[in-house]
Symmetry: C2
């Protein structure tokens, strides 16, 4: 019987320490195939590369771990990995370990979570894993252990169709435990840092500060990581607001 095939990508790029930590953490659980962007692709959401061609290249191969880079987004990497590089259908897709948390509304911007969602479009159990410490030299020891445990569990139990996991590890050495959380409501504020170039024209850097719309709710992903817990949120592809559908039907829009 073949070992499970673990397809890994990230959005910080092929040289990110978080990616290396994830490979090291899970390689005992199966054969690892890494297809990761050739440079940083943060905040690429589920973006696809459609205006230039995609290319991929094998960087290294040792028993149980093959590493490829791709010029596309994390979602492109998963498509390329599944359809063109893997020699069999992956058993699990892992994305991360991201440098920086992907709680709350960040799930819609995150390239890490985009790749996890892409895995579950193809009905492959998928996990996005993020570390709240966004520094390049963050310590991934604990996050790696958590990634190992959750990956082992998902390989055994599977996940519901069209649902992946969003795992966020708090920035602390004293983790209090695991919380199964919902996505907090929130937004990013002061997002555009205005500057002037030498010719006097304005330009803007996108950034900002996260604002939690419900800081007192104790069942959210954001609350969990702010209070020392690992957050696991099940994230689904179906974004339909079912409750509002019947109300919309009452609008009786005529055309």
């Amino acid at each position: 019987m073949k070992r499970p095939l673990i397809l890994i990508t990230n959005d910080d790029g092929i040289y990110a320490p978080g990616l290396k930590a994830l490979i090291a953490a899970v390689k005992a659980l199966g054969d690892v195939l890494v297809v990761a962007p050739d440079g940083p692709r943060s905040a690429q959401s589920n973006a696809l590369t459609v205006t230039v061609p995609l290319r991929s290249k094998k960087l290294s191969e040792e028993p149980g771990v093959a590493i490829w880079q791709c010029n596309g987004t994390p979602t492109d990497c998963i498509k390329m990995g599944i359809r063109k590089i893997a020699d069999r259908w992956p058993d699990i897709v892992l994305s991360g370990i991201n440098h920086g948390r992907n709680t709350s509304v960040s799930v819609i911007y995150s390239g890490t979570m985009g790749a996890a969602l892409e895995g579950c479009v193809d009905d492959i159990p998928s996990i996005g894993i993020s570390h709240c410490d966004f520094r390049p030299d963050a310590d991934f020891t604990i996050a790696g252990k958590i990634a190992h445990e959750i990956t082992a569990k998902v390989l055994k139990e599977g996940l519901p169709r069209y649902t992946c996991l969003n795992v966020n590890v708090p920035d602390t050495n004293e983790i209090k435990g695991i919380r199964i959380s919902r996505q907090a409501a929130g937004h990013w504020e002061e997002v555009l840092d205005q500057r002037q170039d030498p010719t006097g024209r304005n330009y803007y850097w996108l950034g900002g500060e996260f604002v939690d719309h419900e800081p007192d709710a104790e069942d959210t992903d954001e609350w969990a990581v702010q209070n020392g817990y690992v957050s696991i949120t099940p994230v689904q592809l179906d974004m339909t607001n079912y409750k509002f559908m019947s109300h919309l039907k009452d609008w009786n829009i005529k055309i």
Copy 2:
């Protein structure tokens, strides 16, 4: 009393006929501010531009219609429009009219829907509007009338917090009516078209064919447009799979 401020973007870029059609369709309903990408940004999802600075430029202004371009994604354009360009808080965000449908799983890849989701992050009623005819010379007459009616209705009724509308107009001149739909399950197949460059190296164009996982379900967005109906799907930011949360708690993952 000021007229409603209608913030418009798209993902086909500032010169797309679908954008012009949308402006013409809704300018009687309020003051229009367009902030659109300076070129095509299809399939950009909720991607943000974080590795190069953003710039914007006013292209034209006439009474009731100001048009700006931006070098970013549709989501960047909405951030720039709300935070830096608009002289007041927008009353509604419109994205489109997209050349090509955004039903089913396309909602996670679509730059059009990314911009609509970005509007509702800021609690502004937002609508993404797509025309199933993806040709550059598509006729937007009917889609424009539908955009007008739905925009007028949403300006009057509002939308629930964190929920936007995904409107898809079928490629027919004989529209049967409007269906309030849910997002169909599906995926894109044969997505990577492999070719060789003159040096013999492989490259890939991303594309493919949509596969509906539930073609017989009559309550989906995909069914509606395939059967001559305008589809309206309420799309929510919260992607939590609540049903699976209790099951996940039973896993008792130890760390």
